[in-house]
Symmetry: C2
Subunit: 418 residues, 2 copies
């Protein structure tokens, strides 16, 4: 198989399909989404049979249990995929939305119209449900998609792809609107990320290693999410009951997620009061605490946090704690160690809250709320294709709007430049 030729063919087909998709009506796109959902439910047995092939191969290859779990398609996961597509059908269509139409001194009327990006390449790892989720979001936003899933999920992904193809066809849309790469050859990824003539943007979903590799080699823009090293800062003017609940929730609600707190910053003026209360809560959940020297003078039985700790996304029941002298030192720590994902301050002080909001340079900055809210569903985007820690284009949770662009439109009555 000539991978270069194969990928270019997919690219050309996607580019042509994207023209059709960009002008497809909301009703047609929703019809396709709902039909795909129905096809997925109807194909439940086939999906599980194909998934069994992947699981068997994975076991043979010695994949670890967590990976096998992510790979597995159960009845409830199949139902979730179908429901996810139905939810996307219910979201309002961003394409064609016109905003800010205003008259200018020359007499022209200027505004902006939301339009699809064109062709989106999605590169992901073991979870086969991404195939349906990502295809659904791209379809609703009028984009053609080329999906490249993990080689360990190839049979599952192709079975899902068959449902998608069938739904597209029944809705009268080109089946090339969503294409799943059929080879597990790694060269296909290298090709996909270096075809700016056919692919407008790449969204990688997976581990940090995958994302770094792709960002390094890509010749098209990448909407990416690296670390989630999130901070909560308890200010001296915090409501300490509120601070305790937020700091507990931000760490313990879920451990393996990017918007969980990894480092707690506490103002020295309230540390002696709040830290023992918090330590008791954390220890009840068996969270391992690591602290700076000042922290250890209050919580005497915890380990020391090293420089490395401040830069680590644990994704685990581990928390590093640092005592700081005021908001400036807290923001300096964040500036130095944050991954730019999400930071929260707990405070009742007006000026301090405004400064934190304005000066902290992260994709989400919060006052008196848990970092766990930084999420497409919580933000009301309906669904998210990922969370971007980049600054250009999409920042933070990326929903349908993040998969679109805006062009300028001008309505005139014969104006010419003089």
């Amino acid at each position: 198989m000539d991978i270069e030729l194969y990928m270019q063919t997919l690219g050309k087909q996607a580019r042509e399909a994207s023209r059709v998709l960009s002008r497809a009506s909301t009703a047609t796109k929703n019809h396709a989404l709902l039909t795909i959902a129905r096809e997925i439910r109807a194909a439940s047995d086939t999906l599980k049979t194909q998934n069994e092939l992947d699981l068997a191969a994975g076991k043979e290859k010695g994949l670890e249990a967590a990976l096998l779990d992510r790979l597995a398609l159960t009845d409830s996961r199949i139902e979730s995929m179908a429901e996810g597509l139905e939810q996307i059908a219910n979201l309002s269509d961003p394409v064609g939305e016109i905003s800010d139409m205003r008259y200018l001194p020359s007499g022209i009327q200027l505004g902006q119209m939301r339009v699809p990006l064109g062709v989106i390449g999605i590169i992901y790892e073991s979870r086969p449900n991404v195939t349906a989720d990502a295809a659904g979001l791209c379809l609703k936003s009028g984009n053609a998609t080329i999906l490249r899933g993990g080689s360990e999920a190839i049979h599952s992904n192709q079975a899902i792809a068959a449902c998608i193809q069938s739904g597209l066809e029944q809705a009268g849309l080109p089946t090339e609107a969503v294409q799943v790469v059929e080879t597990t050859d790694r060269a296909a990824v290298g090709q996909l990320i270096t075809m700016p003539e056919f692919v407008d943007v790449i969204v990688p979903r997976g581990g940090k290693g995958l994302i770094e590799r792709i960002s390094k080699d890509a010749r098209v823009p990448v909407i990416k999410h690296l670390d989630g090293i999130c901070h909560v800062f308890i200010d001296s003017k915090a409501d300490l009951d509120m601070a305790e609940e937020i700091a507990f929730n931000a760490k313990c609600h879920r451990y393996g997620v990017c918007n969980a707190m990894e480092t707690l910053l506490v103002d020295s003026r309230v540390a002696a009061t709040i830290l023992p209360r918090l330590a008791a809560r954390y220890q009840s959940e068996s969270v391992e605490l690591r602290g700076c020297e000042k922290t250890r003078s209050i919580l005497t039985d915890i380990d020391v946090a090293t420089e490395l700790d401040w830069d680590t996304e644990y994704l685990a029941p581990i928390l590093s704690i640092r005592i700081v002298d005021g908001v400036d030192q807290a923001m300096d720590h964040i500036h130095q160690h944050s991954s730019g994902h999400t930071e929260t301050i707990v405070t009742e002080d007006y000026t301090t809250s405004r400064r934190f909001l304005a000066e902290v340079d992260s994709s989400s900055v919060m006052v008196n709320a848990s970092t766990r809210f930084a999420d497409g569903f919580e933000y009301g985007l309906g669904a998210e294709i990922g969370i971007s820690t980049d600054k250009l284009h999409a920042r933070g949770p990326v929903g349908l709007n993040g998969l679109t662009s805006q062009k300028w439109i001008v309505l005139g009555t014969g104006q010419v430049r003089v």
Copy 2:
């Protein structure tokens, strides 16, 4: 001189300065802009003396007359630079603008705050006025800048830089907020575009060769503008008097600009009526016409347009003309040959105008107005750092907003995820 070390030092300094600049008040930034304008006017003689050095060296190197003209700093150009900075001071400050604050079911209040991008690298060619313009726009939008002008303008650029430094200092801002690269070594550009840790975005301004080179090698996002192959389509339902004025203006108002029309598309049903009228207008301005075979059956004395013509940005008094059968064929031609900059339809037909607006994928799409309006000043942006033909982030004329990003902000009253 160790170029790598030198550029990294500039980068580090810019990164630090950007933190100060991002929280500088509107008043402080305006004070700096107005002071720089005053310094530039006061330094007029020095600027001209330093510019003489560049002009003399340019003549010696045998630079062509057009290039020398662009390089020259006259009294009126110096005054324009100062006025440009005063205009930027008058623009409203985009930084900190909060939009769309809304309450969500969880009780949190979510919105978006406009923030600077951070550090912007500007790479440009001979015009020294870009030094002041670009520095001004970046400063107002709260970004630190590293400017790398053409080697032929090095003395002029450094003299302007001295005015900028002085203005920053008098306003109490770090002088590292605007840094002009002091070496003419080409390796400095290579270094500037591959330091994602210090530079957030690159804006190249210059010829296509420069921009292609930079896009190819950059490891940071590039806001770029390649060709401006703009089209006007005269629909069968056009008001032909209006069509004549727009098609004439789009070509003849100025030739060497990116928003000038390069190809005229005419519906076959009105070609025999409108083309002779337009040909007379173009010939009065000595515009060379090249046409498809159908066009040449009406305008019998013009040359044939080859496939190459459809893909050429003439930037000159040359126009290619093609007769098409309806809006679909016109849009197919545009899809195939446009650079995605600006396209206009002239029509009185409701459905055709809506289809053209929705389906043409260019940064500006117009109905009944000259392509020449696609410009930051005409769009009311106040000034532009360039025109982007990319789809991600900024599309079309890039003003202050294009140099900023939006972060999410969340205001809570103690909410946690359940």
